[in-house]
């Protein structure tokens, strides 16, 4: 029986090639999109899951809040070094703990080879109990134990040592410390939230020359240590978190009238949740986002839905052509359930074919998606039993869902009528098909509106006035080697006409503003704590002028005033946060920040230091007491001869810092990188939206072809009676365009809600203008009209005599 069904199914596929193509192509594209997105989702969900005991490993995080207002000002994925030993001591349930300290960009040198390394971490002897990577050389239990030991990934080792044996080789870090290679390990897989390429023995930090045991034990202010703990299975972390406030009060020194727990808190975060659920102010690397997973899942389902609707629509529309077959089958003894089974097996067959083609298509297009998304996805992600088995069921589900309506509908045909040729597709099915088409177009319109909104927001972020000039600024990592000779270095830089200015700062725009101390402002006679969260950046006298930041009141730091080393410059947001009336009001006020006091000498405009995701925060600039606080040099160059400027910078760098790798960035490129993940999201979103709309159009194309073919006689009569081609095209298109209108009305509020939610992630965002809706509606209308009129015009210009005679 099944054989008979499949036989006729295949012959039908071949007979109605056009409709079969739309169905098969639509379903294939739909399933392929789903598979591509599924690969992405599985990969996103797989982060850090492969580590031993990943489900009971937690990261300790720390937040800071204003003790008075309770407003959280900072959330870090890292904590201070004393916490690890104290946690182990106080909480017996902690089975294991490990600390990992990022070292930032680090110059590494072996012989003549010298590179800046980004993923350098200090790791302790428990590291490999937490993170499952294969140690290929050295003893994992010991390699990170002894001070001045260092481990490298295979790639890193190869970079420095080539084919030489890396073990026991000495390499130099930061131009000051020498380390012995004690081990080599395989690189972390892509689906990890950290990717240490170099691991330095944590015990080295105990050396006072490096950091010091005292600091490790008591410095609660250096919150840069990633700290992971392992807890017993099914342990309720709420129990431990409840004890954290008391723990903090027990161990941290009390400053002022507030208890430590009122100003800071610790929390636990599941290791496997970090990648998708953690968006803290400091993360080891940029994480993914569960929202993105949701968005793309929704798109995948949308596309599949549109393709499924095509199948339903076209099959039902075509049913008139198969009515006779159904009638005959019933006459010779088929029962209704057998007819239903036949049509379901047909749609399952089509889905199966689509599945096979889709797998092929996925395999072919995955590299392209990787390029677009910056991911490293592979088809192997899908080749797992727990994916393959449900995937094998997909054609059944899709086939049955999209086939059930046509099957039920067609099996209800009464053989008497269909065999007598009295059969006409009834009104109820036409209206059901209308609902389906409306749904498709509603989805399409939502996608069009979303795409336009995403484009506009991205454009807005990149074009918004930053408050300073980001062009032609070259940034270099600051090196302690310049501490003494910076003025000479700067003078030599500026001796070239293509170099306009150069300044130093702890952070540069595009970075985050995370450093903060307590601020005090003079009220009546004394300095009183200002109830304000103000971040700071250490900057020299040339920072403001290099960036072209506008000083609105007072002045910036100047070498002409020796007292400026104790003075402060703040932004307008800080003026407001301090409760001052105006910039002028601030000038000359006594101000305290951390343990420094001095005068406020200038106010600069609110410029965008961070990305558009962040609100402009109150900011104070200060000249640091030690040049070690600087992290970057920013050099403003003339736009007329960039290569000359760069070569002069390099020459000067090599002269002053022969031991330090030379590496520069353009600030505007940093800005682009800031929105890279959104840019990628935008391109992927656009591609999938386009595919969805295209599949919807295919369906409409097929459906209108069919609808028109059923009205051929009517068109013939109208033409004989004198109707023009235009009126006929209008007549045929009107029905569908009405549906688009309804679809638009349904789509608007949905799109508005979805996009409004999406925009909430940006501190600086566009308003969704009304015309986006109009444009989306019109685009959908035009697409639909073009699709339909192609058929309508053909029908309208056909010779009516032909169609009437053939009746």
């Amino acid at each position: 029986m099944i054989y008979n069904y499949l036989k006729i199914a295949i012959r039908n596929l071949l007979k109605y090639k056009f409709i079969s193509f739309i169905n098969l192509f639509g379903l294939t594209a739909g399933i392929a999109c789903c598979l591509l997105i599924l690969t992405y989702i599985i990969n996103e969900l797989s982060y850090d899951k492969y580590h031993p005991d990943a489900d009971r490993t937690y990261r300790v995080t720390r937040s800071f809040r204003n003790a008075q207002t309770g407003i959280v000002s900072l959330n870090l994925g890292t904590v201070a070094p004393p916490f690890a030993p104290l946690l182990v001591n106080d909480f017996k349930e902690i089975e294991k703990i490990t600390q990992l300290l990022p070292n930032g960009r680090t110059p590494v040198r072996y012989g003549e080879k010298m590179f800046n390394e980004e993923n350098v971490y200090w790791g302790d002897e428990h590291f490999f109990d937490f993170f499952k990577v294969k140690v290929v050389k050295g003893n994992p239990a010991k390699a990170l134990n002894d001070p001045y030991g260092i481990m490298l990934t295979e790639e890193t080792a190869k970079k420095y040592f080539g084919n030489e044996e890396p073990l026991d080789k000495m390499i130099r870090l930061d131009n000051q410390l020498n380390f012995k290679v004690t081990g080599v390990y395989k690189a972390f897989p892509a689906n990890s939230h950290v990717h240490p390429n170099i691991l330095i023995s944590f015990n080295t930090l105990k050396d006072t020359a490096v950091y010091g045991e005292e600091n490790l034990r008591t410095n609660f202010g250096n919150n840069s240590f990633l700290t992971y703990i392992k807890l017993p299975k099914d342990y309720d972390i709420g129990k431990m978190e409840k004890q954290f406030p008391a723990f903090l009060n027990r161990h941290m020194p009390q400053g002022g009238k507030f208890k430590p727990s009122e100003g800071t808190a610790l929390a636990l975060q599941k290791l496997t949740d970090i990648h998708l659920h953690s968006q803290l102010d400091y993360e080891a690397e940029e994480n993914g986002d569960i929202k993105r997973v949701y968005i793309f899942s929704a798109i995948a389902l949308f596309i599949l839905l549109i393709a499924g609707i095509n199948y339903m629509n076209l099959s039902t529309a075509r049913s008139a052509l198969r009515a006779r077959e159904i009638g005959v089958r019933k006459v010779v003894g088929a029962q209704r359930k057998e007819i239903i089974a036949q049509f379901l097996s047909e749609s399952v067959l089509v889905s199966w074919l689509a599945m096979i083609l889709a797998l092929l298509l996925t395999w072919l297009t995955l590299p392209w998606l990787n390029k677009l998304s910056g991911q490293q996805l592979s088809i192997h992600i899908l080749l797992r039993w727990d994916v393959i088995v449900p995937m094998a069921l997909v054609p059944f589900v899709v086939g049955i869902l999209s086939g059930i309506y046509p099957a039920l509908f067609m099996s209800s045909f009464r053989p008497v009528q269909v065999l007598k040729g009295l059969f006409k597709v009834g009104g109820s099915t036409i209206s059901f098909r209308r609902i389906l088409v409306t749904t498709q177009f509603a989805i399409s319109i939502v996608l069009i509106i979303s795409t336009i909104t995403v484009f506009r927001q991205m454009h807005y972020m990149q074009q918004k006035e930053l408050g300073f000039d980001k062009t032609h600024i070259v940034t270099l990592p600051y090196s302690a080697g310049l501490n003494d000779g910076f003025d000479a270095f700067r003078t030599e830089l500026l001796s070239n006409t293509y170099i306009k200015n150069a300044g130093r700062s702890s952070r540069i725009p595009t970075g985050r503003l995370l450093d903060a101390m307590g601020a005090r402002i003079k009220r009546s006679d004394t300095l009183e704590p200002a109830n304000a969260d103000i971040k700071f950046v250490s900057a020299d006298q040339d920072f403001i002028s290099t960036y072209g930041i506008k000083v609105v009141s007072g002045r910036g730091f100047s070498k002409d005033f020796s007292t400026d080393t104790g003075a402060f410059v703040i932004n307008e947001a800080a003026v407001q946060a301090l409760g001052l009336n105006s910039g002028e009001d601030a000038i000359g006020k006594d101000f305290g920040y951390g343990n420094r006091t001095g005068k406020l000498i200038g106010v600069f405009n609110d410029f965008h230091f961070e990305s558009m995701h962040q609100k402009i925060v109150p900011l104070v600039l200060l000249i640091p007491t030690s040049a070690n606080a600087y992290g970057n040099i920013s050099i403003k160059i003339a736009g007329t001869n960039i290569p000359a400027a760069l070569s002069h910078i390099e020459k000067t760098w090599r002269k002053y810092l022969p031991e330090t790798p030379y590496q520069y960035n353009f600030l505007d490129e940093n800005f682009e990188r800031l929105y890279q993940s959104e840019e990628r999201q935008k391109s992927i979103f656009t591609v999938f939206a386009f595919i969805a709309i295209f599949i919807a159009c295919l369906g409409l194309f097929g459906l209108s072809a069919f609808a028109i073919s059923q009205r051929i006689k009517e068109i013939g009569i109208r033409k004989v009676l004198g109707a023009s081609v235009n009126t006929i095209v209008a007549l045929l298109s009107k029905d569908f365009l009405k549906l688009i209108l309804i679809a638009a009305v349904i789509a608007f509020p949905i799109a508005w809600f979805a996009m409004d939610t999406w925009l909430q992630d940006f501190a600086y965002r566009i308003n969704i203008p009304w015309w986006i809706f109009v444009v989306a509606g019109v685009i959908a209308g035009i697409i639909a009209f073009v699709t339909i009129s192609f058929q309508a015009i053909r029908a309208a210009i056909a010779n009516p005599v032909k169609s009437l005679r053939s009746e």
């Binding site: 029986m1 008979n4 036989k7 006729i8 012959r11 039908n12 007979k15 006779r324 077959e325 009638g327 005959v328 089958r329 019933k330 006459v331 010779v332 003894g333 088929a334 029962q335 209704r336 057998e338 009464r414 053989p415 008497v416 065999l419 007598k420 040729g421």
Partner: protein, 225 residues
């Protein structure tokens, strides 16, 4: 074999009510060959559909082999139909996507006959209808007469007790038409009961008895044999 009493069938659309059968009564005995005649719209086809268990009457009684089937549901009717009744239509109603062999095989598939047995029976009947050489062709590749022979083959392949023919020669020229009529006559002589709706006096003369209908009722009966 068939006993119909006071049968009524009314078709309703939103505005019009058409009485197709109006208290119709008649009887057909096993082995009979009955022709039903009458002008268009007199209810002949409705009658054939009800007798063929494709449609149900609104009122009245219909005994098929002594069993009351007027109130059978679709599943029961389908079951009874596929075991007992074969159909031949004016427009042949072969499935275009199936070959001659597959078309004839179809009733046996729905009866659940096993494949080797099906092959044997289909080949036997194709042989008898002299279209064995066309077994792998599709309906469009055959002449009208050949198509109708295939349709007759399909109607008789499961050895039904009753064959219902709805203007079986309507789409055929006279020589092909005569051939089909001869086939039906042969089947009747081998014991199959036949009820045939026709407009053609010529065809009707092949039957034993002519029932003439008008406005949903029988008006006369001519016994020819």
């Amino acid at each position: 074999m068939i006993k119909i009493a006071e049968l009524e069938k009314i078709y309703r659309t939103e505005e019009v009510e058409t009485v197709a059968l109006n208290k119709l009564s008649f009887e057909v005995k096993e082995g009979e060959f009955v022709a039903v005649m009458g002008p268009s719209g007199c209810g002949k086809s409705t009658l054939l559909n009800i007798v063929g268990l494709l449609d149900d009457p609104d009122k009245g009684s219909f005994l098929f082999n002594g069993i009351e089937v007027a109130d059978f549901n679709e599943r029961k009717r389908a079951d009874l139909r596929k075991r007992n009744i074969g159909f031949v239509f004016q427009s042949f109603n072969l499935i275009d996507e199936l070959t001659v062999f597959e078309n004839v095989e179809l009733p046996l598939i729905y009866l659940g006959v096993k494949a080797p047995e099906r092959k044997k029976r289909v080949e036997a009947v194709l042989d008898k209808m002299q279209i064995m050489h066309r077994r792998n062709h599709y309906p469009q590749q055959l002449s009208g007469g050949q198509q109708q022979r295939v349709a007759v083959a399909r109607a008789v392949v499961n050895k039904p007790k009753l064959i219902l023919a709805d203007e079986p020669t309507g789409n055929l020229d006279s020589s092909n038409g005569n051939e089909v009529m001869q086939l039906l006559t042969d089947l009747n002589e081998q014991g199959t009961t036949i009820i045939m709706v026709t407009h053609s006096e010529h065809d009707a003369r092949y039957s034993h008895r002519i029932i003439r209908m008008l406005d949903g009722q029988t008006v006369t009966e001519n016994i020819l044999v």
